[in-house]
Amino acid sequence: MLRDITIGQYYQTESVLHKMDPRVKLGGTLLYIISLFLIKNFVGYIIAALFLGIVIKLSKVPFKFMIKGMKTIILLLMITVLFNLFLTPGEELVTVWKLTITVEGLRSAVSMAIRLTLLIIGSSVMTLTTTPNNLTDGMEKMMRPLKVIKVPVHEVAMMMSIALRFIPILLEETDKIMKAQIARGADFESGNLLKRAKAMVPLLVPLFISAFRRANDLAMAMEARCYRGGDGRTKMKPLCYQKRDYIAYICILLYLAVGITVGRILF
């Protein structure tokens, strides 16, 4: 049952976006999110939505996968919208019982909803088109300048990719331990929250012990294969910008210029 969980919801298909350098996608997503918060009017939002629409079309990922990401934050979205709707002071529009909806409230609630929706869909386009491995590679290379101030960039990226590699193994192990404990009469499913949390102890202790043992083994295996940190390492799949990556950068900058001009200055 635990094996059904997928982390890093990558969608395998062939598209320009899939082939693109992860750095472009990471940078692009960041710029897109910033643009959403700089845009102040609805014409701007239409431009942002259109841009996202084109990107989704290019990614060849079915739209319903994009929506999946929304499900997890629907509650957060509702709360934000409701708070904005009822608690913004200003010109009164309708009053129902003790709750007042103002013009300003309605405006900020709608724009907040649009912003969050575009933000979530926009970032899921990135995770859907980039393998976790590629993503860590991209992050490592983008953050390389931070090395000057002694941030262990390579080590962090290595840890992330090892963690990703071990997620399925540890899930399988959890499943095994769970079955072993159930066979000995452990009960994980009944009782209140506190009781269930307590029932997790015989699951978590062996899991942690085994994880430490694996970590120890892996460290030894890595050393035996001459791993000694990021210095002097070459890359099997080095990241280098292609023509399409430069074009993508230009597109993003163009969008940014148009979106912000229209969204803040005109109208």
Binding site: P132, D217, L218, R225, G232, M236, K237
Partner: protein, 281 residues
Amino acid sequence: MGIIKTKNVVYEYIRRDEDGNVEGITKAVDDVNLDINQGDFIAILGHNGSGKSTLAKHLNAILNPTEGTVWVDGMDTNDESQLWNIRQTAGMVFQNPDNQIIGQVVEEDVGFGPENIGVPTKEIWERVEESLRAVGMYQFRKHSPNKLSGGQKQRVSIAGVLAMHPKCIVLDEPTAMLDPNGRKEVIRAIRGLNDVEGVTVILITHYMEEIIHADKVFVMDQGKIAMEGTPREIFSQVEKLKNLRLDVPQITLLAYELQKKGILLPDGILTIKEFIQALHL
């Protein structure tokens, strides 16, 4: 001097009780002398706790001896400056396949070693392809290691070591966690390396069937080398092996029992084929 030579190697560890007080000193490896020639297929046998894994870890400087010296291709393992050259010369494959695969894709894992030693990108790809072909895993290069069987994972681990172009591979019970089919696959791959690529193989195991093709066998007991010789010489001493808590292959045991009952058979029969031939005579 051979590719690997050890002289009077001793490795001690301190046993402690639960409060951390010293209970005593155990010699995991006790006065071991080995001299292994380039291109040999060596097997090291022993029951659990005989010190064979500890010895294996000395052969690529994961552990350093308390006393004595280990040379790998002429380099002393106590010499820190040679550490990475030693590890590149003597690769190591461990028991648990899950805990030694680093990459999320087979080819990336095989590329990990060459990346660490700074091989140029183009050559990494060549080495990865050639190593995966050598163990017969090339068609799985784009797969996730999690979806492979134990035997396949272990072959990927071997390819990962092979891609570093070692002169010698030490395999520490590579088949202990595999099913019989996986075991056969892995042993076939290891024999291929030795026969075709000419890599020196040091196979540590407690499965007798795996060592019948070895050039030389060492049997360890309580940290010492208890027996050494060709597989035939070793297996002809059934009683002594039993005393060392090791089982001989079934066919050898059968021949031995028949011999005891007075049937004329040669000593140290290793395979069913040999047994049949001996019966025909």
